[in-house]
């Protein structure tokens, strides 16, 4: 590791290291970020939830959106897997069904960035099985 | 302080000298030297202190004065399994005294003594900082938490064979 020779060096280093603990910092204070829960029970995993989760993590970071992505149990909409729940700061959570990478991209661009609704919302009448 | 007469072997003297040297034979490093030496010998018999005094160029009386000031240093060899009972305040209010009494009773030694077979030595220490587990007993490096007087014999049993 190169020595830190100036305050700028330190600043740059901090930025590069930020991601190491970002997950923790945001997790401590999820309310102020976009929170995304990916249903990751057997049904979800079977339908490709894992791929979607990875895609979203990558894309959100690329597009500079502060978000907390967690996995959760089955939301009870196995017919619509993979399902994800998105909660924008200060808004009620919204659940999307049949999410693949393309759908995920649309959710990010329209709903998360601009608050526009997209197709595939499942009415809220479930409770996460914790 | 009573102590045991020991004869140091050449390599033991060399070892002490090495330790002193690693601290540049500086008198100000006496406490660090004593720590390292005790780590290596298990205790600090008079003869060891004499070598250290000579190497650091301080009087033996001064070295002894320092050894007897700090409770961490001992001139008596510890048992194979040193038992320490935390008598910090948190442990005290949660019954450390009764636990200590039980150890004294079963091992038939006083605090600061070693059993005749050299297996156990008993000492008290002030707070290992595991107050959540009070009362705490340490055997060697192992920490036993929430020890009750009844549990004492089981702890001793673990090390008996």
């Amino acid at each position: 590791m190169a020595k830190i020779k100036s305050l700028d060096d330190l600043r740059m280093m901090k930025e590069s290291l930020q991601s190491k603990i970002n997950l923790r910092e945001k997790g401590e204070d999820p309310g102020s970020h976009v929170q995304i829960k990916v249903a990751m029970a057997t049904c979800g995993i079977a339908s490709g939830a894992k791929t979607v989760m990875e895609f979203m993590m990558e894309e959100l970071e690329k597009r500079g959106i502060e978000s907390v992505i967690t996995q959760t149990g089955c939301m009870g909409y196995c017919f619509a897997e993979p399902t994800i729940e998105v909660k924008l700061p200060g808004k009620e959570p919204v659940v999307f069904g049949y999410v693949d990478n393309k759908k995920a991209d649309e959710i990010i661009e329209k709903y998360i960035k601009n608050g526009e609704l997209v197709d595939g919302i499942i009415p809220m009448n479930y409770e996460t099985i914790e | 302080m009573s102590h045991i007469k020991v004869e140091l072997k050449k390599e033991q003297v060399a070892k002490i000298k090495d330790i002193c040297k690693s601290f540049n034979n500086e008198a100000g490093e006496l406490i660090n030297v004593l720590h390292k030496t005790q780590e290596s010998f298990g205790y600090l018999p008079a003869e060891v202190q004499e070598v250290i005094a000579r190497e650091l160029n301080v009087s033996v009386a001064k070295v002894y004065g320092v050894v007897t000031f700090y409770s961490f240093f001992t001139m008596i060899p510890k048992g194979k399994h040193p038992i320490s009972i935390c008598t910090g305040t948190a442990c005290y209010v949660r019954g450390a005294e009764k636990v200590l009494d039980e150890f004294k009773r079963i091992l038939d030694v006083k605090v600061g003594e070693t059993t005749p077979d050299g297996k156990f030595s008993l000492s008290c220490l002030r707070c290992v900082g595991a107050c959540g587990l009070a009362p705490v007993v340490m055997v060697g490096e192992k920490v036993y938490g929430r020890v009750s007087p009844d549990g004492v014999k089981d702890i001793i049993k673990e090390y008996e064979q």
């Binding site: - | 302080m1 072997k9 033991q12 009087s59 009386a61 070295v63 002894y64 004065g65 007897t68």
Partner: protein
């Protein structure tokens, strides 16, 4: 110099910056009691651990009481030295100290001369609350040949530790243990005999209680005197006469030689002799040794060791045996005057009396505690019979005189007995730092140059400086002389010699401050070093008043050589008057 203005007990006072409250109060005539505090100003030794807390005072605006000995005056300070709060605190602390102190004042050797006892009297302590169940800190009493350590009586003033370490650099003592069992002791709390102690007795000289006292040989003196089969000889060292008077209320610096002799005669000693006689003899031997070594050195002999070191001080001998075992061949081999006296008394004088050495008891009166140890060293015995049977201190002699109900101050002066009571001015000054080397110079100069000295006084060799040096012109040959008193100073000088950084021909060393006049067996100076100066003055005026002032002119010394010894450094002289030294450094005793 900056001055500080403050108020003590409603009186304004102005003192130089850095003055302690204790000193400022003293300037005003206010006496604040102290126990642990000790200031040996001339020696540069100040002991102020601020541990006894007896000297506490109230300082306005301060939360707690302040120890006046180590609190520096500040501008505008308002101090109360004897308020109710202070008196209550002082008395309570005193009760505490006494609660951990034995109450055997009746038999304590320090009784009547004890700072703690005085303080208890002053404060009117009548009972010690809770004494019935108060645990006392107890320790094994340590009987060494010179010093008794009864640490049950230690109050942790640390004066002894300061003297042993800071002034003497002997390092025999240290504070050990912690809390209630804290005490000053040698390593491993072993006896002094197993420590590097030199028995210089400076610890005893400053101890405010009975914790450190000399081994009392007065009972042995009385028993010897009471034994009709024994002939009892006493020798008195030069410094004794300059201090003994203090024990009888005489002003420090009063020379009491004649009264002392009269008292000794009244007590019943058979022969009252003078160690000064043996001091003259020492000069003959040591001076000759110096000239011999010097001669060899000048003729290019590389094996000869210079400088030559004096060897009459047993504390100093013990010190170099412990610390300079690599230099054992440097000191003069001449025995100390005490031992020369004993050797001659039990040979030459015994022959004269027609008695066997066992029938003689030789007692010395010394300003010194190390002499007690010296006379029982094995090399100073013949078939187990010591040349000097035992040694008592100036203080013990004073006790004896009082015990024999002698009105000391009213005694008419008397003279020492012959032959071993005759002495010169040179031998008297053995008692002060620089004196031995001055005496040696007087003799060596005349022998070496064959000329008479025009001026006998060598003022360049005198003084209270810890380390001094001077060059004396021996008729064109410059002789470099070094002097040190106090073993800490000796160490500094010796380290230079060991490192080869000096060009001294001769060095005098005395273990005690000011030389023997400040010895560990002298009347207690209670921290007042002006006493030492007064004694020194007395010694030098004694010298001036002597008719003969050079050792080699002592007629009885001349006679001794003619009748018995032959000449200095002869075979017989070697046998009786010279010794050798032992390596007492702790070696690698390990397998």
């Amino acid at each position: 110099m900056e001055t500080i203005k403050l108020t003590i007990d409603n009186k304004p006072v102005e003192v130089p910056a850095g003055t302690s409250v204790y000193q400022a109060a003293k300037n005003l005539g206010i006496d604040i009691p102290v126990l642990c505090y000790m200031n040996l100003h001339d020696l540069g030794i100040e002991n102020k651990p601020a541990g006894c807390r007896i000297c506490v005072v109230e300082v306005e605006g301060r939360r707690n009481l302040a120890p006046s000995c180590s609190t520096t005056c500040a501008n505008g300070m308002v101090v109360k030295t004897h308020s109710t709060r202070v008196i209550n605190a002082r008395r309570t602390v005193m009760e505490l100290i006494l609660s951990d102190h034995p109450k055997d004042c009746l038999t304590c050797p320090k009784s009547g001369n004890c700072d703690l006892q005085d303080m208890a009297v002053k404060m009117g302590v009548r009972n010690i609350p809770g004494q019935a169940y108060a645990e006392m800190s107890t320790y094994k009493t340590d009987f060494s040949p010179s010093i008794i350590r009864d640490m049950d009586k230690c109050i942790m003033c640390r004066r002894c530790e300061t003297m042993c370490n800071d002034f003497q650099t002997v390092g025999a003592l240290s504070g050990v243990n912690r809390g209630f069992s804290a005490v000053v002791a040698p390593a491993f709390e072993q006896d002094l005999e197993k420590s590097p102690c030199t028995y210089c007795g400076q610890c005893v000289a400053v101890c405010p209680t009975g914790a450190l006292t000399e081994v009392d040989h007065t009972p042995k003196v009385i028993r010897a005197l009471a034994d009709p089969t024994k002939t009892v000889l006493v020798q008195t060292a030069p410094a004794v006469r300059a201090a003994l008077g203090e024990e009888f209320g005489l002003e420090a610096g009063t020379s009491v030689t004649g009264k002392m002799v009269a008292a000794l005669r009244q007590i019943g000693f058979d022969y009252i002799f003078d160690t000064d006689f043996a001091a003259d003899l020492t000069i003959m031997e040591e001076g000759t040794e110096l000239l011999t070594r010097l001669g060899k050195h000048l003729s290019g002999d590389k094996d000869v060791k210079l400088p030559i070191l004096t060897s009459c001080c047993p504390g100093w001998v013990g010190f170099f045996e412990h610390n300079y075992s690599d230099m054992l061949d440097v000191p003069s081999t001449a025995k100390s005057p005490q031992q020369m006296f004993g050797a001659i008394a039990k040979s030459y004088f015994a022959e004269k009396l027609g008695k066997k050495r066992e029938e003689l008891v030789v007692i010395s009166v010394m300003p010194c505690l190390a002499k007690k140890y010296e006379c029982q060293r094995d090399e100073f015995k013949v078939d187990g019979n010591p040349d000097v049977d035992f040694s008592i201190s100036t203080r013990e002699l004073a006790h004896l005189i009082k015990e024999f109900n002698i009105n000391f101050n009213e005694l008419a002066d008397e003279d020492f007995d012959r032959p071993m009571g005759e002495s010169t001015g040179a031998s008297v000054i053995f008692g002060a730092t620089g004196g031995v080397i001055e005496a040696a110079t007087r003799t060596a100069y005349e022998i070496h140059t064959g000329k008479k000295l025009e001026k006998v006084d060598f003022h360049e060799l005198r003084g209270m400086e810890g380390i001094r040096s001077a060059t004396i012109d021996f008729n064109g040959l410059p002789i470099n002389i070094g002097i040190a008193h106090g073993l800490g100073n000796a160490r500094k000088l010796l380290d230079q010699v060991r490192a080869g950084k000096t060009n001294y021909h001769a060095i005098e060393i005395m273990a005690c401050p000011g030389g023997c006049i400040g010895g560990g067996g002298q009347p207690l100076h209670h921290g007042d070093t002006s006493v030492l100066k007064a004694r020194t003055k007395a010694i030098y005026s004694e010298d001036t008043n002597k008719v003969i002032r050079k050792s080699h002119e002592n007629p009885y010394i001349i006679k001794l050589y003619e009748e018995f010894l032959g000449k200095p450094m002869s075979h017989k002289a070697h046998e009786l008057l010279h010794t050798h030294y032992f390596d007492k450094s702790s070696k690698d005793i390990f397998i």
